[in-house]
Subunit: 463 residues, 2 copies
């Protein structure tokens, strides 16, 4: 629950930077409450809001950080009489103050403190994803607070937070590395647990066990499926068959709440078939071409388009597409097989700061494309040192797309359906790494997870 001692300096620094950006404008950042599963006492595991974690590193329920225009104070609930019996001892205020570097006071004092603060001016906040806490903060601040909705007074706070969280400091990078370290054994275990005849659930179990045994939480609901063509497939009931590819999009969360997001695709038999290998190599080359572009100053949209171009080249070489690479991309033919964006920001959220809409993902003046396959691009900024992004091209045979007359109209005879039909043992391939932009290039944080076809096969050969 407490941040590690080594993180104190970073937490103090983040709050100082945010205070500097805010000037004399007051702000409240709430941690949120556990969310009930079917009744109040049966709860999902508590996850504090990412903004709160960023500033205080503390997984405290119902905490509020208040910046009064001059300094930060952390307000925490005092334990109830029976809490220790049911939930165990919690760290005292003095210990929390020591670890976070922030004075701590009782949550009960907050209403009067805020009531006097808001007499002068409106208090900014960033709404938590849980409506319960929003309504609480709404009452405290005397203004509307709803998930995903910012008022004008919140805009400078949101912009300042985006500016801070966009470029990871050393403490954040350390957390991203730990999330990646926890994710590596999960993917290796998944490859080793894969064999014909078991359920997708069996592979998921082997992967998640590597998190649980390390007391690590999954950063998002894992995707472990032989139907990779359903992009966010959360079902695990299919039996693995020879000839299937298994797509696993599974990432862990660091102790401080930072995410890892990795996808690998491997053959159920342990050996890629010729057709699987051909398409796998197309995706892998597209992924490498994109990663090779990642460095400060490069536009992420160009990284996205580079993947499309590389994929077009590969698909032309296989005879699945015919025509000029640039035209194939421009006319949306690659998007028919690669219908999502090349990736997104990474940090405390898997899609970092998506709670603030496109404010984090899209640079001022840039907006989402209307084009199929490009409108899902979640990030359109020029890359800067300290940014972390995913690079995750994919290639999918989605019946709903390929049979859609409207979507495929412009393809004409440039999409060779007879050739594509030969790749019937491929439904979905995605290869995803987390990449940190460095001063003069980039570093793949998830490089320890095998992705060369031969490396994947070598891991599976040792099953």
């Amino acid at each position: 629950m407490l941040p590690e001692s080594s993180e104190r300096a970073a937490l103090v620094r983040r709050r100082e930077l945010l205070a500097h950006a805010l000037g004399s404008a007051p702000a409240v950042i709430a941690s949120g409450r556990p969310r009930p599963r079917n009744y109040a006492a049966d709860q999902f595991p508590f996850r504090a809001s990412s903004h709160f974690l960023y500033l205080f590193g503390l997984a405290a329920q119902d905490g509020l950080g208040f910046y009064d225009g001059q300094a930060w104070t952390l307000y925490l609930p005092e334990p109830g009489a029976d809490d220790a019996l049911w939930d165990g001892a919690v760290p005292g205020f003095a210990e929390v103050a020591e670890r976070t570097g922030c004075p701590v006071r009782s949550r009960a004092e907050l209403p009067s403190v805020l009531a006097s603060a808001r007499m002068t001016r409106a208090v900014a906040t960033l709404p938590t994803p849980d409506l319960e806490t929003c309504l609480d903060v709404e009452a405290l601040l005397g203004r509307q607070v709803r998930p995903g909705k910012l008022l004008p007074v919140d805009e400078p706070l949101a912009e300042a937070m985006v500016a801070l969280r966009l470029r990871h400091d050393d403490a954040a990078v350390a957390q991203l590395r730990r999330a990646a370290e926890a994710t590596t054994p999960a993917h290796l275990a998944g490859m080793r647990a894969t064999r014909p005849g078991v359920l997708e659930a069996a592979v998921r179990a082997a992967m998640e066990a590597e998190f649980v045994v390390r007391d690590v939480r999954p950063a998002y609901q894992p995707i472990v499926t032989v139907h990779g063509e359903v992009l966010h497939n959360l079902k695990y009931h299919h039996v693995l068959r020879e000839g299937d590819l298994l797509l696993a999009d599974v990432g862990g969360e660091s102790p401080g709440g930072f995410a890892c997001d990795v996808t690998r695709t491997w053959p159920v038999t342990g050996r890629f078939s010729t057709t699987q290998r051909e398409l796998y190599e197309v995706v892998l080359r597209a992924q490498k071409a994109s990663i090779a572009l990642v460095r400060p100053g490069v536009g992420y949209r160009d990284v996205h388009l580079a993947a499309h171009r590389e994929m077009a080249r590969g698909l032309v070489a296989l005879g699945i597409l015919r025509g000029d690479v640039e035209e194939l991309v421009a006319d949306g033919l690659t998007a028919l097989l690669f219908p999502h964006g090349i990736g997104h920001l990474m940090g405390l959220d898997v899609h970092d700061m998506e709670d603030l809409g496109d404010r984090a993902g899209y640079a001022p003046g840039r907006t989402r494309s209307k084009e199929f396959g490009h409108r899902y691009l979640r990030l359109d900024r020029d890359l800067e040192p300290g940014m972390a992004v995913t690079i995750e091209p994919g290639l999918y045979r989605v019946p709903g797309i390929l049979e859609d007359a409207g979507l495929t109209a412009r393809a004409g005879d440039r999409l060779k359906r007879d050739v594509l039909a030969r790749y019937s043992d491929v439904r979905g391939i995605r290869i995803e790494d987390d990449v940190l932009v460095t001063a003069d290039g980039c570093e793949v944080l998830t490089a320890a997870i095998p992705k060369e076809a031969s490396d994947v096969e070598a891991v599976m050969a040792r099953r």
Copy 2:
């Protein structure tokens, strides 16, 4: 997501019985929405509200069952344009209608249907645990809807639902059995994974993997701890040491959402020490004495008190308590070591229908005790055939209780602290089974999970 075909008749029957109880009074039962973890798209696994699952057996998001005073209709959202790409195909309305035995219409039609219905009279509902859905239903019904809060118009619906869900029908019993079947391998795996030097998390991982591999969800956050004296301990970071007891309170959920709730306590070495064994046998005898009482017509509070009496006898025999058994119980001495209730209702919720407050747990006219150790009793009804309850006595050395001068004042010299101190290798023991009340006695649904000390040791000897 769909109920099994064999469940259709039970679902129809439940809705008929509820309709009969409601007469011409209209009612809405909502399924709820997935709950965001840190931003809208990063969600906890969806769990439909238990009342909705009871009537429709369907894990559909944002569904509403509407009883218009004559018949039930199920309103479901129509899939969005891109849903199939991201989330896969969902069953069509015709298939849902076939499986649930209930006509299905588009959720979009509901506002006008409800607007005309509520012109005549207020519509009853049972609030979902998520506030978002409550506010939605509030807008639909034009009346306040808040989690855990019933209006007078809702009372007859709540009473009718309690009357139905209190006594499980055959389909519900079948689900309870499936939840128990999924829980057995988890506990066996936990015993086998236990050894000195590993983390609590490693045992948890082995237990949860047995759920995940079967595509089963945990019915509640698992407790796997060497600090059993913290009753709802949700930390997993301690290293298991020789001399520790490990307490595991872990249960799975059936496909239809019914819960299992089982606790076992086993020695890290695989062999109970003499002191551990002595206290373990006290708890086990108390548990068996309570189960032996479970039959129609018996008051659950008497089952609770029987455990206290049996525990008093055992503790007197060990010299930990001194005095008359009845007086020791009446004066709260056993409650110092067994501070919680003997158990609770079981069903779709681990604490069944706890969302309705004590309406389900407490028979009309009965209220919670003010006494320490007895005020946590969650059920005070006369048992009836078809009820399912847990029987879960425990024995804990809780410093916060034993060092509390107020709580221990009445104990005087009847609590032999010097004798209790000899049991320093016991911090917490709990033994919990799920018990179904039958026509003339009871059936232990979780009997396949070893609890005799010798059986536990035999499982662990085969590690």
